[in-house]
Symmetry: C2
Subunit: 253 residues, 2 copies
């Protein structure tokens, strides 16, 4: 038996997220089907994260175990890709140790959220970036982002109705950049609560508008009150951008 | 009666092109429907060009005449956009003289064709750019592009079965650029034959591969033989990028 780690990317527009769901087609299901068609084995595929419906991934990892010992790596990637729709691609396939786990061995993740300014919808950007009808205040948002860095109890920045016991997370980096009319919110951390990035971006927009101040962050954190934070922005601007693993011989064979 | 010129853009993926066709939904039809819903008049909308099925436009112009005198320009654009699908946007609306014609008054056009290098499909680029599985030879293609500039009889670079009497066109500019793994072929001219840009790009790819030489261009031109030029590349990388009009008071009211 060999454990293999797939590095994939996907346009999440047409999926209910990574995880298999009773309603809707998931990325996980598509990967499982492609593996079954190729290997003739029913394999469990474990992802590094759950992404929500409509969220994209520039980089996503999942592992599975196979009894097939004769896999030629390059040919395997190509054969999987012809079995996958054009909105999901396998980028790489890495042999890992038997106890490697795509989710538990992830040291951290980077998410990005894309926005663009335009008075009208840009048909080429609108599926992959959130349109804002006014230019954003980069200075105010950047000040807000600096406050987000650190270890905080992010309960106020998580969707209601989800019972997670530990809502403390560490954000290693958080920044906001502009390239012409395109904006990118970037955040790296050891873990993220449900909807946390999308609520942080919604709060950043409220800071840009002047509805909130950059320093209101600590007040909101202390309140643990979801209602004090900004709106949850839609999923189509959100990308799981990078997953950090310890790349040593212990993990990667 | 007033003549108005709309500046629009569209993602052509889901359309049979600009022009109304017996089968398939056209951009023209969507614009006519939106105008009818808003103005309550049946209006003829005349485009600056026919774009093929699946071809995009960063900039496209069309004119129409309306008896409605009370149009407030800003509100009109917004009201049209809410009546249009997200893959078509009205960017501007300009009042023009009664004899202005979106097609005949166009002095020239710029098309771009996007390509990207990647060993696997990139789900975020693949609908809007042609994937090439090997890196391109920019020097060879640039040399080819220089040869394309000028006035030539482009019969060999037009799709068979189209009977146009005059196949002479003037190309003002033609260039090829790379930005990381993204490539852009740019061409400006006074007019383009059916499939001319797509055949020129296909020929550029053959030049990159070494199947043709940059200087074979004049041989192909002289032959007037479609079979000597390269393949017709698919429509999804092609964009009508700019339309040149004489922007003086004679045309624009």
């Amino acid at each position: 038996m060999r454990r293999l780690l797939l590095k994939i990317c996907y346009d999440g527009t047409n999926y209910c997220g990574w995880q298999v769901q009773p309603n809707g087609i998931s990325v996980q299901q598509k990967i499982c089907e492609a593996l079954f068609s190729l290997l003739g084995e029913k394999t469990d595929v474990t992802g590094c994260s759950r992404t929500d419906s409509g969220v994209h991934a520039n980089e996503f990892y999942c592992h599975f175990t196979t009894g097939n010992q004769s896999i030629d790596n390059r040919g395997f990637i190509g054969a999987l890709n012809v079995r996958l729709p054009d909105d999901i691609s396998v980028i790489d396939c890495i042999e890992v140790n038997d106890n490697f786990h795509a989710r538990y061995d992830a040291l951290g993740k980077r998410y990005i959220y894309k926005l663009y300014y335009s008075p009208v919808i840009d048909p080429f950007k609108d599926k992959y970036s959130l349109r804002v009808p006014k230019r954003l205040n980069i200075e105010r948002i950047s000040e807000f982002c600096k406050n987000v860095i650190g270890t905080h109890d992010f309960e106020a920045f998580s969707a209601a109705g989800k019972s997670v016991t530990d809502t403390v997370r560490t954000v290693y980096d958080c920044s906001f950049s502009a390239d012409g009319d395109d904006y990118t919110f970037t955040i790296e951390g050891n873990g993220f609560l449900y909807n946390m990035v999308r609520i942080l971006v919604g709060t950043a927009l409220a800071v840009s508008d002047g509805k909130l101040n950059p320093d209101d962050f600590s007040k909101i954190i202390q309140s643990k009150n979801r209602a004090l934070a900004g709106k949850t922005v839609p999923p189509h601007g959100l990308y799981l951008n990078k997953v950090f693993y310890e790349r040593d011989e212990e993990n990667f064979g």
